[in-house]
C-alpha cells in the first residue's frame, strides 16, 4: 500500500477519535461558558439515550459499546449512567475496590488484585500500562503496587487522581479498567561480559533492521536516521533468562553493544547497558536504538552506543540492569465506584 493511501486512510478516521485525542492534550481549565455547554451536551445525550436505549442495555458488560461511545461524547453522562460494580473477575483473577475517597480535591483509591485459581500474583505484579481510568472530569492519575499479602496472594494498588479543575468530585463515579497483568518479575544488575572492547578485536557486519521502534539519549535522533544495526553474533552471554548479549563491535568510531529482549511485547523485558572501569567510574551510552529484525516482531533488540575515543578501553567492563517477567495474564477487568468524601 502506498504511503499516500495510508496517510489518506488514517486522515479520514472519525471525528470523535480526533476530539478524544485532542482532549487528552488539553490541560487548560474549562471556562464557565464551556462548562455550561458541556452540561447541555451531557443533558441532551442523557435525554436521547434514555429514549433510544433502555437502562438495561447500558447495564451491560463493562466495555459495552454504548458506554464507550457515550464516554467519548460526554464523560459526565457516561459516568452518571454507568452502574456501580465494585468487583470484577476474569481468567481466575479478581479485582475489587477496597476504598475510594477524596480529600482536598485528590482522589485515593485502593484496589486489590487476587488470584483465585493459581499462583500468578506476587509482589512484583504490575498492570503493564494496560489500565485506563474513566472520569467525568479532567485529571491526571497514577497507579502503583503498594502491598502484597502472600497468604491470600493479593496485591494492593493505590490509584491517585488529581483533578485539573477546582470543583467537588465527591460522589463522582470512576471506572477503572485493566486488560493485562505482568507478574513474576526479576531484576538483574551486574557484569554481563568481560570481552575485549578494543576496536581492533574483530570485524563486524551491519544491516538495516526491519523496523526501528525508537531511541533514547540526547543523540538518538541522529542515529535513528538510516540506522544500521550489528548483525547478531548469536547468544554471546545471557545474564538472565529472557535477555541476551548478541553483538559487540564498532560502527565508525562508536562502540555498539546489542541486547536482545525475548518476547518484549508480552513480557515487557527491558533494561539498559553501561560500562564501568576498575575505579568504579560509570560510562553511560550516548544513545540507544530499539528495533525488530523481522515481520514477526517477537524479540526486540536494543543497541547501546558508546563513545570511548578518550577512554582507556581495556579498563572497561560491560554492565547491565534488566527487568524480566515470565507471567503475562490477559483479561477484561472493570470496576465502577463512587468517590466518598473524607469527613
Amino acid at each position: 500500500m502506498r504511503k499516500k493511501d495510508i496517510s489518506d486512510a488514517i486522515g479520514n478516521i472519525n471525528d470523535r477519535y480526533i476530539e478524544e485525542a485532542a482532549d487528552f492534550q488539553r490541560k487548560k481549565k474549562r471556562t464557565g461558558k464551556s462548562s455550561i455547554l458541556q452540561k447541555s451536551v451531557a443533558a441532551a445525550a442523557s435525554f436521547i439515550l434514555v429514549f433510544i436505549l433502555s437502562v438495561s442495555t447500558l447495564v451491560a458488560a463493562d466495555f459495552s459499546p454504548a458506554y464507550e461511545f457515550l464516554y467519548t461524547l460526554s464523560p459526565s453522562a457516561a459516568q452518571k449512567l454507568k452502574p456501580v460494580s465494585m468487583i470484577s473477575e476474569d481468567n481466575g483473577i479478581k479485582i475489587e475496590v477496597i476504598s475510594a475517597y477524596v480529600e482536598s480535591g485528590e482522589a485515593k483509591i485502593l484496589i486489590s488484585v487476587q488470584d483465585l485459581e493459581e499462583d500468578r500474583i506476587d509482589e512484583t505484579t504490575d498492570l503493564f500500562d494496560s489500565f485506563s481510568i474513566n472520569t467525568s472530569f479532567d485529571c491526571s492519575s497514577s497507579c502503583e503496587n503498594i502491598k502484597y499479602d502472600a497468604e491470600t496472594e493479593t496485591a494492593v494498588f493505590l490509584i491517585s487522581i488529581s483533578q485539573w479543575d477546582k470543583y467537588d468530585i465527591a460522589d463522582e463515579k470512576i471506572t477503572f479498567s485493566v486488560r493485562e497483568i505482568l507478574s513474576n518479575k526479576e531484576t538483574y544488575e551486574g557484569s554481563i561480559s568481560t570481552l575485549n572492547l578494543d576496536k581492533n578485536s574483530g570485524s563486524v557486519k551491519i544491516f538495516t533492521p526491519y523496523s526501528v521502534l525508537g531511541g533514547s539519549g540526547a543523540n538518538s535522533e541522529k542515529y535513528m536516521e538510516d540506522f544500521q544495526a550489528l548483525v547478531s553474533q548469536g547468544d554471546i552471554n545471557s545474564p538472565v533468562s529472557g535477555v541476551a548479549l548478541t553483538a559487540i563491535g564498532y560502527v565508525g568510531e562508536k562502540l555498539h553493544i546489542q541486547i536482545r529482549y525475548d518476547s518484549a511485547l508480552e513480557t515487557d523485558n527491558h533494561g539498559y547497558v553501561y560500562l564501568k572501569n576498575s575505579d568504579g567510574d560509570v560510562l553511560d551510552c550516548e544513545a540507544s536504538i530499539s528495533f525488530f529484525t523481522d515481520e514477526g516482531e517477537k524479540d526486540m533488540y536494543s543497541e547501546y552506543i558508546f563513545d570511548l575515543s578518550d577512554k582507556n578501553v581495556s579498563d572497561y567492563v560491560i554492565y547491565g540492569k534488566f527487568t524480566t517477567s515470565n507471567m503475562h495474564i490477559k483479561g477484561k477487568w472493570s470496576v465502577t465506584f463512587p468517590l466518598e468524601k473524607v469527613r
Binding site: M1, I6, I18
Partner: protein, 186 residues
C-alpha cells in the same frame, strides 16, 4: 476565548474577529500539527494561515460540529500537501517516520488485485480503534494522525520512550490481527 458556536456565528456574519478568535483558541495546536509534519517553522506558519483562509472560505455554507476536528483536518491536509510538494524536506519529519511505521505494518494491504479504497481502510481503522482501550487509542491517534514524536508521547503519557515504542508496536500488531480477522490480506 469564545465558544465554537460563537466563532461560527462570527464567520457567518463575515466578521474578521472570527479569525482572531480561531487563532487564539486553536493557533497553537494547529502550529504543532503542521510542525510535526513539516519540521520547518516557516512552512508550518504558512500552512496555518492557509488553514484560516480555508475556514473563512468554507464557513458558511458549512457549519461543522465539532469545529476543532474540522480545523485540525484542514491543517493536517494542507501540511501533508505541502510536505509532498516540497521535495527538499529531509526524511526526518515526525509525520514521515510515523507513516513509515504504519507502512511496514500495512505493506501488503492493497495489492493490484485487491484495489482497496483508502476510505474502506478508514472504516476498518474506525472499527479497530473501537476495540482499543482509551489510552492505546489515544496513543495511536496522537502518533499516526497528529504525528506526535515518541518523546512527545512519552512526556504526555509519563512513560519512557522505550515503553511508548513497545506499546505502539503492540498496537500495530493488534491492527494487523484485526485486519486479518476482517478478511484483509496483510
Amino acid at each position: 476565548m469564545e465558544e465554537d458556536s460563537k466563532i461560527i456565528d462570527l464567520l457567518y456574519k463575515r466578521e474578521e474577529q472570527a479569525l482572531i478568535e480561531l487563532s487564539e483558541k486553536y493557533g497553537t495546536a494547529c502550529k504543532r500539527i503542521a510542525g510535526n509534519i513539516l519540521k520547518n517553522h516557516r512552512d508550518a506558519e504558512e500552512c496555518v494561515n492557509d488553514t484560516y483562509l480555508a475556514v473563512w472560505n468554507t464557513i458558511p455554507p458549512k457549519n461543522p460540529n465539532p469545529l476543532r476536528a474540522y480545523i485540525f483536518r484542514i491543517i493536517r491536509n494542507i501540511s501533508i500537501a505541502k510536505y509532498h510538494e516540497n521535495t527538499c524536506i529531509k526524511r526526518n519529519s515526525y509525520y514521515d517516520v510515523a507513516l513509515q511505521e504504519l507502512e511496514n505494518c500495512l505493506m501488503a494491504v492493497m495489492t493490484v488485485e485487491q484495489e482497496m479504497e483508502a476510505n474502506e481502510l478508514s472504516d476498518l481503522l474506525d472499527g479497530f480503534l473501537e476495540t482499543l482501550d482509551k489510552r492505546s487509542r489515544i496513543m495511536f491517534v496522537r502518533r499516526y494522525w497528529y504525528s506526535d514524536s515518541i518523546s512527545d508521547l512519552a512526556e504526555r503519557f509519563q512513560i519512557s520512550n522505550n515503553n511508548v515504542s513497545v506499546r505502539l508496536s503492540r498496537i500495530r500488531g493488534k491492527l494487523k490481527r484485526y485486519l486479518k480477522k476482517e478478511g484483509v490480506e496483510v
